[in-house]
Amino acid sequence: MIETREPTGYRQRQRRKLTFARLSFYTFLALIAVAWAYIFVEGDSGFTLLLEGRTWDNAGKFLTRLAGAGQDERPAFLQPEQWWATGRLAYNTLAMSVLAIGIAGFGAFLTFIFAARNISSGSLGGTPSRLGAAVYYFLRILYAFTRAVPELVWAMLIVFFLSPGILPGALALGVHNLGIMGRLAAEVVEDMDPAPARAMRASGAGIFQIFLYAILPQTLPHFITYLLYRWEVVIRTTVVVGFVSAGGLGLEMRLNLSFFHYDQVTLLILWYLLLVTGVDFLSAWMRKMARFE
């Protein structure tokens, strides 16, 4: 029998691994069941509303008013001057997303090298030091914290002390993405081929020259590609930070919703979709350019 020739330890490990995955799966299913039960038991889940005709009437009314029906004048999204008037907001929102990417990009660019383990340990050049190790841990914790706090929470905190405009929104988005970009870039450096850097060191290069000529050329294309991907996410999120008075399309959308100007909301959503599609397209085009190979 072939099976008997397999070491038994291996089979046991296999079984244990499978059990862990399976156990996790069942735990997850149980959690889901408890969550649904809790939502129904805890109070008004809203699902009973689905059985009432009134709810559907309201939803229908909301949709028709989004479509511009039930008002005397022409809906906003059919008036060119309204498009023009809200275009300014779309322009600001775009600027906010670019500024956010700029903040995240510069912040990560200035720090990622010190957050890579192979740099702080001196294995690519330079000498390992206590300071380098301390900076490494500080940056890794900073990245973890900034990316774990959602953009919207950052925005809520920042509007506390910054004047409204595109800056607080951009800062909130930028800080969150700084953590994401920093970690990604540091990991790219850690996965990089160390041989060219070592060869440069052997021919007399210092740490700065190694950074400029060996590390940067190898990591920059990845860095820019990730940055462009993040831009696609950021443009979708600009609206969200706008909700908490950080400016742009989001703020206007919330105001219009609370004044029941639903045709305006539709116009703003159309602008939003336009921006999202446009940025997706631009980012794809630039990523093609960044494919330096």
Partner: protein, 266 residues
């Protein structure tokens, strides 16, 4: 030997373009007016100092725990909905169900891709605002608001995984007389189950963060509590809530890392 690269493809050009874009975006900031509120610097300092220490009183920790469970339950419910919607759409979008020469193939794939793309391109908070306006404030609105964009993301990735399965075993199944359904259930699905499961788990992680911020439209949970504490200027409570959010996300991250690892190794 290759021809010299055209200007548009030179890395310097792209870098300049990006720098130019950032410079342009800076013009959108109103530099003339004070950037800080009056007293803004002080409140920023207060906020920072409130971390030492965060509010750890038992009563508030209980509030935290409740809020965390609220958020977690919304995340769990919405990921269920997302899988229920995203999986069938993803299967349709992958084209695995129709034979390659069927006339239905292109319309089916394109329409399901269109649906997935549309629900995906609207942020969950925008969905939440619209749904709350349409059907009122309730956990249902939150679950649907999260479930729709997540269904879009899951569906697209499911479709990609299903398309990327190696062809040879499938051809073997087909030549043994298996129908499209049978190749799906006995061929494609078993082959990409680890990928599907670990990606769903990763998205569950993201949905916790999303559920926390959904509270801002008025649905209870961590975000809602943060909003209340901020309103009362109780910054040390804000920190406790933030740390609680970090703790759940880190816990799930650790768990899903272990599950991924064990799925990959087996």
């Amino acid at each position: 030997m290759r021809p010299a690269r055209p200007l548009l493809e030179s890395p310097h050009f792209l870098s300049l373009l990006l720098l130019g874009a950032v410079a342009w975006s800076l013009t959108g900031v109103a530099w003339g007016e004070p950037l800080l509120h009056t007293g803004g610097g002080d409140s920023a300092l207060d906020m920072l100092l409130a971390l030492f220490p965060p509010d750890l009183s038992p009563a508030f920790l209980l509030v935290c725990l409740q809020a965390a469970w609220h958020t977690l339950s919304i995340a769990l419910a919405s990921i269920t909905l997302a899988v229920l919607i995203g999986f069938p759409l993803g299967v349709m979008a992958s084209g695995a169900l129709v034979s390659p020469d069927s006339r239905l193939r292109a319309p089916l794939m394109l329409s399901s891709r269109f649906v997935l793309g549309t629900v995906r391109s609207i942020h969950e908070l925008v969905w939440a605002v619209l749904l709350v306006a349409a059907i009122g404030l309730s956990p249902l609105a939150a679950i649907v608001a999260l479930g729709l964009p997540y269904a879009g993301i899951l569906g697209r990735i499911y479709a990609e995984f299903l398309e990327d399965t190696p062809e040879e075993p499938l051809t073997a199944l087909r030549s043994a007389g298996a129908s499209s359904w049978q190749t799906l259930v006995f061929g494609r699905l078993p082959m990409c189950t680890p990928d599907l499961v670990s990606y769903t788990f990763y998205r569950f992680e993201c949905s916790i963060r999303s559920a926390a911020i959904l509270s801002f439209v008025g649905i209870r949970g961590i975000g809602y509590e943060i909003q209340l504490s901020l309103g009362d200027l109780l910054f040390s409570q804000v920190w406790t809530l933030l740390l609680a959010l970090l703790a759940i996300v880190a816990l799930v991250d650790f768990w899903s890392g272990r599950v991924r690892q064990s799925l990959l190794e087996s």
